[in-house]
């Protein structure tokens, strides 16, 4: 009995340790490689030594060089603008819709909700080619509009916020109505503040989705002043054949903001996943 338990414990330990290594090794290699010279990266791999995963020489200059060699700073700026604008306006539009769906009865409400659910399951990528046709007809290709407008609605946010609002007791709103508050005032002054945790969850998920988007921004925009970071870094790799340390540094720049936000707010992030998986 106790021997089989020990064997089991060891088995579990081996499985989890190897999976954790599988996940961590590429990341650690990337971070440490971003602080080395290329020759050092190759030397540490051939033969492989533990130094491959330690940023031994701290060549911080890598992070300066990449911005001089390629307009990555412009790409970064575009990503910041697109992501922040999308998330902020998105939170407003999506929470307003969630409030409408949760608290008001009107013809077609059920249809709108079903549409939200269907689009939630249907990844955005499937629409890229027709979306290109549409934006071409609307003449908004190669503008910030093309990068922002199609991504504003985040069905997952509407779903989460609607769920959350439905669990809030209506008594506060009713007394506010009696005091003569408009529905918009109620939304702004009562619903939104109460929704804070759900807003963080929804906003975080929307933020990460927008920051990481690749396929649509690749097609929507050609002008180099409008290219976002995720696309720009691929052009960086293809166009000037950068050294590995530079490619690592550019990757870290794209990963770090999102990783920091994730670690700080992972509690909220996990809650969002949990809710979508469990509820219908």
């Amino acid at each position: 009995m106790s021997i089989s338990r020990v064997v089991r414990k060891i088995g579990i330990f081996i499985i989890l340790t190897s999976l954790a290594l599988f996940v961590l090794v590429p990341l650690v290699w990337t971070f440490s490689g971003s602080l080395k010279r290329q020759s050092e990266i190759f030397a540490d791999l051939n033969p492989l030594s533990w130094r491959a995963f330690i940023p031994s020489s701290l060549v911080i200059e890598n992070y300066g060089i990449i911005f001089k060699r390629f307009p990555l700073l412009i790409f970064l700026r575009n990503s910041v603008i697109v992501t922040i604008v999308t998330t902020v306006i998105g939170l407003f539009v999506n929470s307003l819709a969630a409030y409408g769906l949760a608290r008001f009865r009107f013809p077609g409400r059920q249809a709108v909700f079903v549409m939200t659910l269907v689009t939630m399951m249907l990844p955005f990528e499937v629409l890229v080619i027709p979306l290109y046709l549409l934006c071409r007809e609307l003449r908004i290709l190669d503008t910030y509009y093309a990068l922002i407008l199609p991504g504003l609605v985040h069905p997952l946010s509407i779903f989460l916020l609607r769920q959350f609002i439905m669990d809030i007791p209506t008594s506060l709103e009713e007394s506010a109505r009696i005091d003569g508050a408009s529905y918009f005032r109620i939304y702004w002054n009562i619903i939104l503040p109460l929704c804070r945790p759900a807003l963080i969850t929804a906003g975080l998920s929307h933020f990460i989705l927008t920051w990481n988007a690749f396929f649509w921004p690749l097609i929507a925009v050609n002008k180099s002043e409008l290219i976002v970071y995720q696309v720009g870094i691929v052009f960086f790799k293809n166009d000037i054949l950068p050294q590995w340390n530079e490619l690592f540094a550019a990757s870290v720049v794209g990963i770090l903001p999102i990783l920091v936000i994730f670690v700080l707010l992972q509690r909220y992030f996990v809650r969002g996943i949990t809710l979508t998986g469990i509820k219908e």
């Binding site: 579990i12 499985i15 989890l16 999976l19 954790a20 996940v23 590429p26 990341l27 290699w29 791999l45 033969p47 539009v93 999506n94 307003l96 819709a97 409030y99 409408g100 769906l101 608290r103 008001f104 009865r105 009107f106 013809p107 409400r109 689009t119 399951m121 249907l122 990844p123 955005f124 990528e125 499937v126 629409l127 890229v128 080619i129 027709p130 979306l131 290109y132 046709l133 549409l134 199609p150 504003l152 609605v153 920051w211 990481n212 690749f214 097609i219 995720q230 870094i233 691929v234 790799k237 690592f248 990757s251 990963i255 999102i258 990783l259 994730f262 996990v270 996943i273 998986g277 469990i278």
Partner: protein, 291 residues
């Protein structure tokens, strides 16, 4: 009173309107647009040139590249989805109890999910390079250098391993939530009846997890059918079409060969296949127990 309800329902419409408008314009209309465009001759340089009936689809039926692409995509999606979810469920079972260690491990296993697919592809492109990390590790075990991404045997597997790395932690979190939703009393009762861990899994966990599994299977399948960035960044569909997934094939048809009508037809086929496969999954995984 009637006036009041009518006014109230009007406000509901007003609040939903902006999201509804955007949803219709950028999610619903494009679906119909792609169906319509698939019946058209639509070169990217000259724009819409008129309808051509089913000729895009006729062409598609005879196109060997499309057949190869559909087959590759089906193999890729089945393997990736199955391994990803099996690994996710295994980890969820091992990490479902909350302690400092398990929470740390969960965060670690989940972390690649927040990294963009494009940067993940660049990192793995370097890992798989001739002088890269994967070959460095193989050398430790005395295995000679492999041409991962340029090998006809390896390339699709290389993509699958990379996407496994990226995604299984996400589904693990979903499964953990599902597991913690199963009433503890059922396990206590099973234990009293002398059922071991394996029996408990077969008779309690798996049946009661069916609803969550339906969600993970359907959602993971749709996502995997549409994988694009890794192919674009790491293999360009090669070597010799071995990684020519449909989403990338549609992109290439549209923006490299400039044939938007044909690309739309390929997208429609992709959407149809995804729809059929998920419908089958719905039938197969429909929950039979409620709790």
């Amino acid at each position: 009173m009637a006036r009041l309800t009518r006014e109230k329902s009007l406000w509901g419409v007003v609040f939903v309107a902006p999201a509804l408008l955007l949803l219709l314009t950028f999610r619903i209309v494009p679906i119909f647009a792609s169906v319509i465009a698939s019946f058209a001759d639509y070169p990217v340089t000259q724009g819409f040139k008129g309808f051509v009936g089913f000729s895009n689809y006729q062409f598609l039926l005879l196109d060997k590249d499309v057949h190869n692409s559909i087959l590759t995509t089906l193999i890729f999606v089945s393997i990736l989805t199955f391994v990803q979810l099996a690994l996710a469920l295994l980890c969820a079972l091992l990490l479902k109890r909350s302690s400092k260690t398990t929470i740390l491990l969960r965060v670690i296993l989940f972390s690649p999910y927040v990294i963009s697919l494009s940067i993940a592809s660049i990192i793995w492109w370097l890992i798989y390079a001739d002088m890269g990390l994967a070959n460095g590790i193989l050398r430790v075990f005395g295995i000679r250098r492999q041409p991962f991404l340029t090998s006809e045997n390896w390339a699709l597997w290389a993509l699958i391993i990379m996407l496994l790395w990226k995604g299984f932690g996400y589904w693990m979190v979903v499964y953990i939530a599902g597991l913690n939703n199963i009433p503890e009393s059922l396990y206590e009762a099973a234990q009293l009846d002398g059922a071991g861990g394996f029996k408990q899994f077969i008779y309690i966990t798996w049946p009661l997890l069916k609803r969550v599994t339906l969600f993970t299977v359907v959602a993971d399948t749709t996502i995997n059918f549409l994988i694009f960035a890794p192919v674009y960044i790491m293999t360009m569909g090669g070597p010799r079409g071995r990684t020519m997934l449909l989403a990338y094939y549609a992109y290439r048809t549209a923006f490299v060969y400039g044939d938007l009508g044909y690309a739309a037809a390929v997208s429609v086929i992709l959407l149809l296949i995804t729809g059929v496969v998920t419908a089958l999954e719905f039938r197969f995984f429909r929950a039979t127990y409620e709790y």
